[in-house]
Amino acid sequence: MAKQYKVVHCTINGKKVEQVVDVRASLTDMLRNDFRLTSVKKGCEVGECGACTVIINGEGFNSCIYLAVWAEGKEIWTLEGLTGPGGELSDIQQAFIDEGAIQCGFCTPGFIMTSWEIVNSGREYTDDELRKALSGHLCRCTGYENIFRAVKKTMLRHLGKFEEAEKVNSQGITEYPEPMPFK
């Protein structure tokens, strides 16, 4: 069978684009190879690890098990779209740094995309709901507590609860004295 191609029109990180894709390509393939958006990681490639997570029409998807041709008409956000015009980090990215929520960094872009969806939802998640919302990501350095804390603090700040955010301690629990900050 001859190779099959299709033109896909979509919006990536706020920019309208048109791209010829091989129909066999996943959205991960398209974003990495055609647009050089290499924050979208190839981890398991079977929808288990979450490293390839992107936001499609406001909802987090594993781009590895999403066909590139399905991007037609969709609005897609990757980590690259979160930074400011001069490359400034967004608050959720900065929170990951401040909380030491990074070791090898491979899971980080995926985690941040889901976190971005959470902190921009305008909703206050309970601790259990936060853990559930983050459960589609695997971090093999197992830095989950730091990641949880970064997301929880940023969510509280987005809700204007700055004092509460400062009280989130190293176990991610509110209302205990803050231990030494991670530097």
Binding site: R24, G47, T53, G60, I65, G136
Partner: protein
């Protein structure tokens, strides 16, 4: 790149049927969280695919003219959980599909795919069985409707004839009217795991809330396909809500189920937890329906 021989994208339901007639070897592709993974694993490498994913007409939850709840087959799990009609009338279905995989899987996974792959562990299946869902199938000869208990033929085989696709799942009013239900998924992990066994119960109580007017109980992974425990249901229908009746109902399910040994769990464990889950899911359903246990 996926090892795909050819991809045919359907532009409408009729187009999908035509494509399936033209390419009888082709596999239907909905959300792809099973099919694409199986291609990656090599099990379906080299397949022809008819993608129906872009058919938005198969998405969404509505109430039709006969007061059935109509769930488009491509409605994703996350959209079912967040849908106001589901939350109002059959919240247990939203809770059950909220236990599938992880959040990203629930964004892509469809209820149609979950039933059409014919797998007994599907988190939606036991609840759909317990609410006597009707499967709407569209094919070259038009539309036909099949009760879900007849839709499942054997493990991984469902009643889909050549060039047919599932287009909707209907919950009749008779099933959801004044009914309250609860689903329990027993699995080793809370996320990204497949049910060892799943149990979905729903009840309709009498006006005074002292008697079980009707109970329905469905299981996943208690037999090769999702099943109902009819003997247990018959025992409890019309009986008073008492501890003794609840316990006997739970024990009676063993007449109806036939779980197997697998690497996930042994038959003995599955039989044991099936009884425990029946009791717990029933108690929770009774409580949701506003009933209390009298002695």
């Amino acid at each position: 790149m996926y090892d795909i021989k050819a991809l045919y994208e359907a532009e409408s339901v009729q187009d999908a049927i035509r494509l399936l007639q033209e390419h009888p070897e082709a596999q239907v592709l909905a959300g792809g969280s099973d099919v694409l993974v199986q291609i990656r694993e090599g099990r379906r490498a080299g397949v022809e695919l008819v993608s129906i994913y872009m058919l938005d007409e198969l998405r969404g939850v509505t109430i039709d003219e006969d007061e059935n709840i109509r769930i488009g087959s491509l409605t994703s799990f996350s959209h079912i959980t967040n849908d106001p009609i589901i939350q109002k009338y059959i919240n247990v279905l939203g809770e059950a599909v909220d236990m599938v995989g992880g959040p990203q899987i629930r964004a892509i996974g469809t209820i149609g795919g979950n039933t059409c792959n014919g797998v007994t562990s599907a988190d939606s299946a036991s609840t759909l069985m317990a609410w006597d869902a009707i499967i709407e199938i569209t094919g070259p000869e038009g539309v036909r409707r099949v009760p879900i208990r007849d839709f499942y033929i054997k493990a991984k085989v469902v009643d889909l004839r050549p060039a047919e696709i599932q287009t909707a799942i209907l919950i009749p009013k008779e099933s959801y009217d004044r009914c309250f239900g609860h689903y329990i998924k027993y699995s080793m992990r809370n996320a990204l795991d497949i049910a060892t066994t799943g149990c979905s119960v729903n009840v309709r109580l009498s006006e005074d809330r002292k008697t079980i007017e009707r109970v329905r109980i469905g299981y996943g992974v208690a037999a090769p396909v999702p099943v109902r425990a009819y003997t247990a249901e018959e025992f409890l229908n019309g009986k008073e809500i008492t501890d003794a009746n609840i316990k006997e109902f739970a024990e009676t399910v063993l007449n109806d189920i036939n779980p197997r040994d697998s690497w996930r769990a042994g038959k003995a464990l599955r039989r044991h937890i099936s009884v425990v889950m029946a009791e717990r899911a029933l108690r929770e359903s009774i409580s949701l329906a506003g009933g209390v246990v009298n002695g």
